[in-house]
Amino acid sequence: MAKKGLVVKVKELKTNIAVVKGLEVSIGKIVDDTWEEPEGPTPFPSMTDLRDWDFKLLQRYKPFYLPFCDVCCLCTFGKCDLSGDKRGACGLNMAAQSSRIVLLACCIGAATHTAHARHLIHHLIEKHGRNFPLDQGGLNIDIEAPVTRLVCGIRPKTLKDLEDAVEWAEEQVTHCLSATHTGQEGSNLDFESKAFHVGMADQVGMEIADLAQISVYNFPKADPEAPLVELGFGAADVKKPTILVIGHNVPSSVGIIDYLTKKKLLGKVEVVGICCTAIDLTRYSTAAKIVGPISWQLKYIRSGLADLIVVDEQCIRADALEEAQKVKTPVIASSPKNCLGLENSTDKPANELISKLVEGKVPGVLIFDPEKVGEVAVESVMAVAPKRNKFSIIPEIDEIIAAGKACSGCNECIRACPNNQPIPEAMKAAAEGNLKPFAEIFDNCVGCARCDSACPKDFPLHSFMIKAGEDKSLSEKFMMRSGRGAIQDIEIRNVGGPIVLGEIPGIVALVGCANYPDGNEAVAEIAEEFAKRRYIVVLSGCAAMSAAMVKDEEGKTIYEKYPGGFEAGGVLNVGSCVANPHIAGAAIKVASIFAKRNIRANYEEIADYIHNRVGAVGLAWGAMSQKAASIAAGFWRLGVPVIVGPHGSKYRRMLLGRKDKKEDWYVYDARTGDKVYTGPTPEHLFTTAETKEEAIVMIAKLCMRPNDTTKGRSMKLTHYIDLHKRYYGVMPDDVHLYVRNKMDIPITMKPEVLKILEEKNWKETRIPDPTLLKRMIRKRG
């Protein structure tokens, strides 16, 4: 979708409308003449329009490849051994292959959000018309859809306007995916640039999906006081008929709530959710409860508490239907993306489907119409619940003891466990009636059930853990703040300055999946560490849920202790995964509102701004999915560093700066055109933290930016040094790289820092008006 296309369209209309035969005209693209902001250089950018910017970033943050396998098996020329300096049959080498896999993952991730947006918008338009107005925060938000403005150069006003953006995103996904074909791109750096590109498109896809659902479903609108909602096994009153919804695309769950409301059954039936559908459903109705993040699926299904399961799309276990059958729970599939092999019953009468499900004639049905899902789910669950009587397959203790005795100690289970949990030892203990080790494993378990699969004796090991953890987990109940959506303009106005000057020490975004190396607690702990220190802590998706799953002595979760505003010390849940762009959006709005930069189709300048000035860091502690990859890619292109937890090392490559290479850390001073050394700020664009302690110290360090004022820098250094000492037990050995002049030095730390500066032969440098873009220099030196 080139801008030229738009222009031609309009011209043709004016000249040809009367003579064209067999054609009718339709309302087309927006040509927004009322927008006083001038259009920047890259509206609806092509795959290569921002390549120069990418190469600037990649020059500094070079890929470190971490191949997951020596071979490539992507075409039937292969497999090809790419070890060492070998090349595949297509001429590819391992560096290019590794970045190609990154690109592929990002394409899948971006496709997922974009297709999600497409289905959602399609559904909403069908129900509410193409002219349904978009509203993200009423009068509190003037700059709605900042990402779409920045990237596409449009200001969407109604649902139909979103179609232009989604079409553009689909085109980008298609182009970028095509580059992964055998015999296309040959350069690893170009693969990287394309991954950045599709990550940027992903941000657009997500933003418009959330914008649409916020507007139509009237979710909290940029509300710092979005309601507190209940989360945990113990949140729902499972004595009632219970519907479990899993996934990300909320319409069918909305259908359930609507039907319950219509039939005045709200309160008679529990609706609990897992993953983002859960978050989004609580944004729609606080009657809904949240079970937890993705890792809780099997735990909940096997516990038998759900009397009916509705799955939509994304992050749904592929064996949900089989697992549900084991506990006699019927399933309704509701998305074209996840049909589970079920017969499409969208056009069948509801009664017929209900009786089929209730009588157990089919394990599940496939219904694409969200309203019908609502009716069938509710009517079925009420009839199913008494029959099921919460039938569960969680074993009794004697069964576990017997298994413990029969265990051969073959280690297949632990060797299958991504977190190396000591299951064989737990089995030994269980043989003696001690379930404590299993309860401990439960806490560190991501619920993947690979141990079950691997056990040659077919012990349902994950169920053993559930049993062992039952007492604790069944009663668990936490408060989480529901997804608030975007950040208000006024909030930005208040914090824009302090952020850019460095006086708010940073924005920490905790996002992504729950593939944690050791339990939920880390996320809550990290969030609190920074909230206490008056960083702005933003959360979304599974991370937002995990952060709720720790209480203090008073029984409070961080959401109850910290304000929900975008402010120093705020803890914000923006919403589900598709709410992530509100985080990028906040950074973009800082540039727009505080710095008065034009954002319309002005990507490169704004990314340069954010990279050099906005101390934001993303942490995807449990990043697991391709979506997480593309979300990260969207941040990379904006110049925002992303840290992943240890499992994230399996994403195939990091983007690492080298603080020991001075030449890498020069920027232009926009005032003079001079090249100025700024120190490694931020040091990395993408890296792995091995432990939560390391993540914490890294976050503090990666919040520093060239633009920090001395006051800001000294605050950031205070936190960095303090955290380093706390968690590492020593002073950092690189403080000298972050001190530009002595005023940067935290007062209380002056003596020890000065000592280091001396040792390291430190020299004062000056604080530039930083940019990586030559064209931003105002006056040539």
């Binding site: 470190f64 020596d70 391992m94 080298r658 590492y728």
Partner: protein, 181 residues
């Protein structure tokens, strides 16, 4: 022993180029002795206590004492070292040290030239796996040795999957062979 040389995590199949198995600790000792510029990278798992042994960190310190091999402590491992009165050569993230080792122009922590042998231990299995893979493919002049209790196929050399007692015994032997105690 080669029968046991399967990746510890079952699915972590590596490819055609797999680590040679250290069948005897003496072999590892000899390799370390032969190394001109070795370096030892120690992850946070080394600070955990295995059910029937001391902390692995003790072996690291003894190894360092015996050989003077510089130790890089990743993540927060350094805290434990310092607690024990030992000063590692550097604290660095695992990715950072991996990334530097990959660079043939990097002259090491002391600026005296590239390392020729990198010993690894105490990182999460999968993380060590991919970092060793990165080095295998891109650090062509570097040999890597995994000293973990698990077979890591992406190293140049690795122990097979060992029982705890075999593993600790191996360390004892290695340290003895290197003149330590």
């Amino acid at each position: 022993m080669s029968a046991k040389a399967e990746p510890w995590q079952t699915a972590e199949i590596a490819g055609p180029k797999k680590a040679l198995v250290i069948t005897k600790p003496e072999v590892a000792a000899a390799m370390i002795k032969r190394a001109k510029r070795p370096i030892l990278i120690v992850g946070h798992l080394s600070t955990k206590t295995d059910s029937d042994t001391g902390k692995m960190i003790d072996y690291t310190i003894r190894l360092n004492k015996a050989t003077g091999i510089p130790v890089v402590a990743t993540a927060h491992t350094i805290r434990e070292f310092v607690k024990q009165g030992f000063q590692p050569a550097a604290q660095m993230s695992a990715m950072d040290i991996g990334n530097r080792l990959k660079d043939p122009t990097w002259n090491g922590l002391d600026g005296k030239g590239p390392y020729d042998v990198a010993l690894f231990m105490g990182l999460p299995y999968y993380m060590e796996f991919v970092i060793l893979s990165g080095l295998k493919h891109f650090a062509t002049n570097l040999k890597t040795i995994s000293l973990d209790k698990y077979y890591d196929p992406h190293a140049s050399w690795s122990f097979p999957n060992l029982k705890v007692e075999e593993w600790t015994q191996s360390f004892e032997t290695i340290i003895k062979k290197l003149g330590g105690n």
